[in-house]
């Protein structure tokens, strides 16, 4: 505690009183519900007001993991979540780094490129999704024309589930690459130019400069971006909602939780307001994020110690 200058006695309580609303809202709306997810996962809660809630122990987890076709679908969604995370993270990370290095050169118009690539970040999932639905219009749309030129065609988002899924990955990367790039750019700007000049004088080529100066000194941004990309892509599903809807063969875990918790009917897939079950699925997704996140953190920290000492 630091010395407080604004009075004693009763006046000393003023900062506490003013702090209270913010803490209260935070606990009520974010922290409390977040922890309560674990509690709900052991019940058969529904989304209906006044409906009785029973303690069901591990039933939701057992059902999610081991019961019939539904559990097979769940595992398929889990696998898809990991595939989505892998492709989005690696491509977005690689592309973001590559573009940041290009833009960081002394190029004319670099601000225009930077602004353009970063633009989708502000538009949000709905506009991103609708813009791309139009761009991927299968009958004579721009992308269809490009494919036509190469002598092929596609239904894009309306095609095979695997194809639609691949397009969502591409659009997710398009939408968020700007954030990765911006974080790398701010990292690049902390590297002193004298360092580059020093290795250049020693006769290093571009690749060697990148390998020996840029890459190791970029470690903090590398860590931030990898962590953000992995956690973000494991939990992302808004673009699926806008681009595809709840469609068989394309669901990821986040969407599945929403659909089981709040009801979602589309084609042959019907789900109900099973909120206890959805809470169990949330916990499983959370554990997945936790395990992967911690493993990555450990690897990154070891690497940081090795590089930065």
């Amino acid at each position: 505690m630091t010395t407080y200058h604004f009075g004693r006695g009763r006046a000393r309580w003023v900062p506490y009183l003013l702090l209270l609303p913010g803490i209260f809202f935070y606990v009520l709306i974010a922290l409390g519900p977040s922890m309560a997810t674990a509690v709900y996962s052991f019940t058969d809660a529904t989304g209906l007001k006044g409906a009785p809630v029973h303690w069901v122990g591990l039933d939701n987890y057992k059902e999610f993991l081991f019961m019939g076709q539904a559990s097979k679908d769940n595992f398929a969604a889990l696998e898809r979540t990991l595939v989505f995370c892998f492709f989005v993270t690696t491509i977005q990370f690689g592309l973001g780094l590559f573009i940041a290095v290009l833009i960081n050169q002394n190029l004319k118009g670099r601000n225009i490129f930077r602004t353009l690539y970063f633009m989708p970040v502000i538009l949000g999932a709905v506009i991103q999704g609708l813009i791309w639905s139009l761009f991927l219009f299968p009958i004579g749309g721009p992308m269809a024309r490009v494919l036509e030129f190469f002598g092929t065609r596609s239904e894009f988002l309306g095609g095979q589930p695997s194809e639609a899924f691949a397009w969502v990955i591409a659009i997710q990367i398009w939408a968020n690459m700007g954030t990765t790039m911006i974080i790398f750019l701010s990292g690049l700007q902390t590297i002193p130019t004298e360092l580059y000049e020093a290795v250049r004088i020693d006769g290093a080529n571009s690749w060697q400069v990148f390998q020996n100066v840029t890459w190791p000194l970029l470690t903090p941004s590398v860590n931030t971006n990898l962590t953000l990309n992995i956690i973000g892509s494991l939990q992302a599903w808004q673009l699926f909602l806008v681009l595809l809807g709840y469609r068989n063969g394309t669901q990821v875990l986040g969407y599945l939780i929403y659909a089981t918790g709040f009801g979602q009917t589309s084609g042959s897939v019907t789900s109900s307001f099973r909120q206890g079950y959805a809470a169990a699925a949330s916990i499983i997704l959370f554990l997945l994020v936790l395990v992967i996140g911690m493993a990555v953190q450990t690897i990154l920290r070891r690497r940081e110690v090795r590089i930065m000492g």
């Binding site: 604004f6 935070y26 929403y258």
Partner: protein, 281 residues
Amino acid sequence: MSATREAVLTKKPIPWGMIGSYVILVFFAVLYAGPLLMLVNTALKTMPMFMKDATGLATEFHVQNFVDAWNKASFPKYLLNTVLYTVSATAIYILTAIFVAFPIARGYVKYSGALLTLFVIALFLPPALIPQFQLILGLGLYNNPIGYIMLFIVNPIGIVILVNYIKTVPKELDEAAALDGCGYFRFVLEIVTPLIKPAIATVVVLHAIGIWNEIIAPTIYLTNKDYYPITRGLIVFQGVYGSNWPTLAAAVLMLTFPMLILFLFLQRYIISGLTAGSVKG
């Protein structure tokens, strides 16, 4: 032989690296601008023109698409709802957040460190989706604008950004102000707030964009059409007029264009918010 060699050596080398960089950057620029240009082009066309040739350039300006979208999509109503939700939730949030962040940054309340940790761990906890819904339902605020706004009056990352920034404001200021008889409440609002404007701007912009673009919460919490924000309105509009791309494109464009203009002004705040804390030292 030696003459040509000399000529090569003295001539400025072709900057292949630069040319390559530009080629790649322009390629990606097309990928980023292309979908937007397609949107503009489609919004200017009539439906028959679009069906005949989707990518062909619009030859004239069809204002009718915009009129249709404005009326049929209940654009003014939904837009007003979005503005209302965004402004009120952000205002409540930032006001409470300043009074949380300041005493924590200064150590004016007990357990400041633990309190800050409380906000940091939120980033690593399970999603609150289900219990949050039960809470709103229990409070009788389901399908109610107040319940909807309530969902958005917290944002732990913003607190962390504010705390870090307030730490750069010299502490001597507090003592001097107190000696002059300035009270705590007035000090925070009238002296600290102007000094931390850049951080406040960053947090406000990040928070407001999140609410503005939100699509999941309105799908869950709002069933009455009169309460829809514009994002939900657009999705419904797509459901009904999905095949009428010129009108849909006009609707999307009317929302996209002002956001892009705003983006150009707010870009630096968004960037500083995203990079806050990501670069050590």
